[in-house]
Symmetry: C2
Subunit: 708 residues, 2 copies
């Protein structure tokens, strides 16, 4: 039972705007409710005495005065009067409202204004409000079909939310002859009040929901989504199509990280961190839903393949290779038992080929033996049609062995209409069957992927003792002086986060430059410091290995070059920095960009070429815990370079991981930082050094923070 | 008409081993032929007077003596007598034999011996021999079902070969209620004589075949396959599942290239070069076949999407983004026409959303207008079920507009059984419909990919004037002295190919070393030369930047280090080489490995990290033409580094391309070279320099060459 349980299991539903007139939405909803709903249906329409044979009330208030307690009001009246009727319903104590009415934020500025009023109303009365612009909701346990769609869902254990109402209509039509049953269905509409996270929370608490499915076009509050889904997916798998993946989301970003992060990057990272199985096709959405709704989770990841034909066995083996699974290695006992039962032409090893003359008994023996093997966590049974085999019998054998062993099974009983009865038998045991062996394997892979996520421990991000006061001073000073782009002059920020940086200072005279250089052992690096010059190296604004005696002259040179390049550039001075032996380490980039939905997004990659040319990067929504940062580091293809590949010395990955965590904490605590690049962070055999810094501030974000 | 046209369109077929006994293969084949074949069926069995009501002969000879000309003999007798009956049939003039009989190379050494005899027999009599161990063949134009499978194929324009007979059985059962028709079907069996290339050639010449499909587990002669398929796919598209993709093909290779090339690398390169559309799932195999068999090729690659629901429109847009296609940009005229016809809530821009109340007329107007736009090369029509729309009518409208405009169309009329009649109507116009918008887009993508391949110009590889005599001398000398691994001592080979190498020489005394160094401008590089030491750098066997006066001492050092590392290592001397300014260029690797099926496979990638850590490589079956080499270079992700990315100087890609072509020619002309690495080839702003060489010889390959 979740907070929205009355919404999905009401005893009384009012249709505000009910109608007798076929073809109207008010008619369709009232009819759907009257036909199937177990509770009371209350049509509301001031112009009718009754609707579809049900007594009709002038208003929800009138119904209330007649001692009718309305649990859910479904609103289909025109937008101009919708707010009034909702407020009236709220005043009579209605807590759940489904707004079918369109003409809100999807319909221009007038509608947007109306939607803001709707939100205020919902807040005032603490309403659970679905929509507006929704197809409605369904819940099969009480026969609730409060939609204007032509079909009710069949009962089952999948709850489904969709940002496209039409897609729900299509899915229910398609699911009708596909043994796919639903618990609750909700058309999210404009998500003015209740959004995806609310329904995830509800279904996570709902015993009738075993799988949560979503078709989402956007996610309003990414952080809340991650937090909710992370908890819910520990018990209930969630499969989501997030569409709009490939739209051209070219944002004018000032940082590397911002430029590299595409429009879908945050969704990719966020959905992954949320523990959601993201899919890209409708086929995967329902294939994964079917198996997750019907099968237990595997205890180990080895897959056994049993086939009466070699070809399909090889195809399934290829599919296992493409998946995150592996072929099970049979125990000696299993092999001995198989050898005892199978003809000499059979292949005992996985994939087991019991050859074309396999009878039902041979299938039964073989499946029973392999499912007995503790190395087998899942099984795929494949069959081509033969004269000696009945698919109906085979389906029964598979279903009963599945029940006996409790091991997840998927099948490809290959054929056309000859497979229909068998498919039905299998589906009653929650076992999917496809023509294509690949789909059977892919489904099992979804089970195993979910099992891994369920077992994943989500650590709480570490809290480092960073110098918040100093950071705040630096950022406030910058904002107050109108600076929005900071560079190496703000290396103090990193020091305040206890991120190691080379000794150095920004100076504004040749004399001071020489003085600083003198305090540094050996030659120094000198860089021009100007908020107007992003690519310092390109204009000769960086000199490496400058001897102390040359520092003063070099200072002048750097300033002259900057002036020549851009006469009006504001030059803050020159940075004098201790030399870091870059060749002894591996250059990396730690960056941050800020996503409108998910907030700060941390990026990691190795030096320039790997990030810019190879696009070999890892992203996570901040804050990130240590284990997640380690995953980021290991996720990039070039990570072996950090671990001693090609005769390198192993880099201090622990120190790097700490830097990324500290940056994650910095940008989480200081939303004024909208973009950040530390490029490079040199990862040395012992320690790290953050060499260069660039960041972008958003003064409005600071204001917001101060206001709150 | 191809060489095998009699095989697929015989007038008279004999079944040698025909039988009256149900359940036997001889019975099943005879029955299939008797029931459907338009020509004469001649049962052969010395123990019967007649079989299934047909007059039976003791032998093919007897039939021949009765003036019966047998075009195809289908052989089902036991393996022990199969050879005899085939020889007898051949002697009477039978040219085509389908050997159903098993017990050949698939069944141990005795069977392999029998198969060799079968091949000899086929050569002696110039037989077109299918199998052995085949399910048989079909050809729907003459009602030929010479298989023992339970189902005949429906007539159509797809010809299908499969290395798995069971898979054919499954496919025909499945295809029966899916509007998928076949011209010829062949179960390849052991491919002792006729193999995939023979059937490709046949179907390329066959007017009844519009699409060639294959399920292949291996390809015997890769080169012949490429040559044949390259020609055939100019006219006839070919879609192939090559299974066994992910088997662990760990070969103990001595070269980088050999170690990087997995078991599937040659197939991947070879199928691509052959112009074949390779797919990985059965679903793609038949989805692609359907659309290629039913739809014209697109003239441009812009896709228009028309939908009555936003969600599915976005899903289709995502699928276009994932594909090789692009969304069409409508002309102003199209937009004006759409605006004129569509309600204001509609979205005129691609993907066009004609919204949920769209009638059949609105669909018709919209599809007609977008297909009129010359930027639209293909269209996807999507629909969710609504009360105002009949899928049957929509299907008819789509089919007729498709006919009017001649533009390829795929559809997703989303729903369940409500779509069946519509699907039938569409399929009669060759238009596929799926529930999943992604599959519709993916199918169109297959059309466009084939159109691109058909238009691809296959250049003849250039023939460079390499010094064959000198190459032969070097290789022969190595083989004669028992060397199979060569290193920098054989840099002459590269010179003989006119591949630029730094000035250098292998010397075997400190004095000679100094003399050589003196002739070279500036410092030199010195490397130990030993066939027993592969990783010279790792043991301190390479010194860079050695001044002339230090050359003699360094010589001694290098030899001592080699001795310390491996006392029994054969040291051939020390190479003295001109310094190349590696930093001024980009390091790359050009390598060759040899695949048992496809022969020499050329690899290209940038320096060590990119190849070994990032696995950023491109492979082609040699010989490769210039355009294909340019594709290789551009195919790697790191290629921008050659073209001046990140402020580099643009490298001399032309010179690099020539080196790869010359290496391709070298290994094609000299099969004794089984593996080769030039690592690095430094690509300079002006020219290239091949710095280091390693190669492996196979003396047997030389012997073969001398023999032939």
């Amino acid at each position: 039972m979740g907070e929205l349980s009355t919404l999905f299991a009401p005893e009384c539903v009012a249709v505000v705007g009910a109608s007798d007139e076929p073809g109207t939405v008010g008619h369709a909803i009232t009819k759907n409710l009257r036909d199937d709903f177990e509770g009371t249906v209350v049509p509301v329409n001031p112009n009718r005495e009754n609707v579809l044979g049900l007594e009709c009330y002038d208003s929800v208030r009138e119904a209330s005065e007649a001692d009718i307690t309305v649990d859910v009001a479904v609103v289909v009246v025109p937008p101009t009067i919708a707010l009034d009727v909702i407020e009236e319903a709220a005043q009579t104590g209605v807590e759940n409202v489904v707004v079918i009415t369109a003409g809100f934020s999807e319909a221009g500025s007038e509608g947007s204004g109306r939607e803001r009023e709707l939100v205020a109303l919902a807040e005032k009365y603490d309403l659970n409000l679905v929509g507006p612009n929704s197809l409605g909701i369904m819940s099969t346990t009480v026969g609730l079909n409060a939609t204007f769609g032509p079909r009710s869902a069949s009962p089952g254990n999948i709850s489904f939310m969709s940002q496209s109402g039409a897609f729900i209509t299509a899915v229910l039509d398609w699911a009708a002859d596909r043994h796919l049953g639903f618990k609750d269905v909700v058309s999210l509409g404009n998500k003015a009040v209740l959004d995806e996270s609310d329904f995830i929370r509800q279904w996570g608490d709902d015993e009738g929901t075993d799988v949560i499915l979503g078709y989402l076009e956007d996610i309003g509050d990414g952080r809340s989504f991650i937090d909710t889904a992370q908890t819910v997916t520990r018990e209930t798998p969630m499969v989501v199509v997030k569409s709009g993946r490939t739209e051209a989301g070219a944002s004018a970003a000032a940082s590397h990280t911002g430029a590299i992060a595409g429009s879908d990057t945050a969704y990719r990272a966020g959905l992954e961190q949320a523990g959601v199985l993201r899919v890209e096709t409708v086929q995967d959405l329902f294939d994964f839903a079917s198996i997750l709704a019907g099968q237990p989770l595997p205890e180990t990841e080895g897959v056994a393949i049993v086939s009466n034909a070699g070809g399909p066995g090889v195809m399934a083996t290829d599919a296992v290779g493409d998946s995150s699974l592996e072929l099970a290695t049979f125990s000696d006992e299993t092999l001995a038992r198989l050898e005892d039962r199978l003809p000499s032409e059979a292949n005992l090893y996985n994939p087991v080929d019991i050859i074309g003359d396999a009878t039902i008994d041979r299938f039964e023996d073989t499946i029973d033996i392999v499912l007995d093997d503790e190395n087998v966590g899942m099984a795929v049974v494949l069959s081509c049609p033969t004269a000696v085999l009945s698919y109906e019998e085979l389906a029964e054998v598979i279903a009963s062995l599945h029940e006996k062993h409790g091991t997840p099974v998927a099948t490809a009983l290959m054929g056309g209409s000859s497979t229909e009865t068998a498919a039905h038998t299998l589906s009653e045991s929650g076992i999917p069957t496809y023509f294509d062996p690949e789909r059977a394997v892919r489904s099992l892979d979804a089970l195993a992927r979910y099992a891994r996520r369920r077992d994943h421990e989500y650590e709480t991000p570490a809290q480092f003792d960073i110098d918040r006061e100093r950071i705040d001073e630096i950022l406030t000073a910058a904002v107050e002086s109108g600076q929005t782009r900071l560079g190496v002059e703000s290396m103090d920020l990193l020091e305040a986060c206890e991120i190691p940086t080379p000794t150095g200072e920004v100076v504004n005279s040749p004399r001071r430059a020489t003085a600083v250089a003198r305090e540094i052992d050996g030659d120094v690096v000198m860089k021009i410091v100007s908020p107007d010059i992003s690519h310092k190296s390109d204009i000769g604004g960086v000199e490496i290995g400058v001897a102390t005696e040359e520092v003063a002259d070099t200072y002048e040179d750097l300033v002259v070059r900057a002036r020549n390049y851009q006469p009006d550039a504001k030059v803050l001075g020159v940075q004098i920095q201790e030399m870091v032996d870059v060749d002894a380490g591996t250059e990396s980039i730690v960056g941050v960009t800020r996503d409108p939905q998910f907030g700060p997004l941390v990026m990691f990659g190795l030096g320039g070429i790997f990030v810019e040319v190879m696009e070999d990067t890892a992203f996570r929504v901040a804050p990130v815990a240590e284990s997640a940062v380690r995953e980021m580091v290991d996720e990039i293809t070039s990570s072996p370079l950090l671990y001693g590949a090609r005769g390198r010395e192993r880099a201090d990955v622990d120190a790097l991981v700490e830097v990324i965590q500290r940056i994650s904490q910095l940008v989480t605590e200081f939303p004024v930082i909208t973009e950040l690049d530390i490029n490079p962070v040199v990862v040395l055999p012992d320690g790290v050094a953050a060499i260069d810094l660039r960041l972008t501030l958003d003064p409005d974000a600071v204001t917001t923070e101060v206001d709150s």
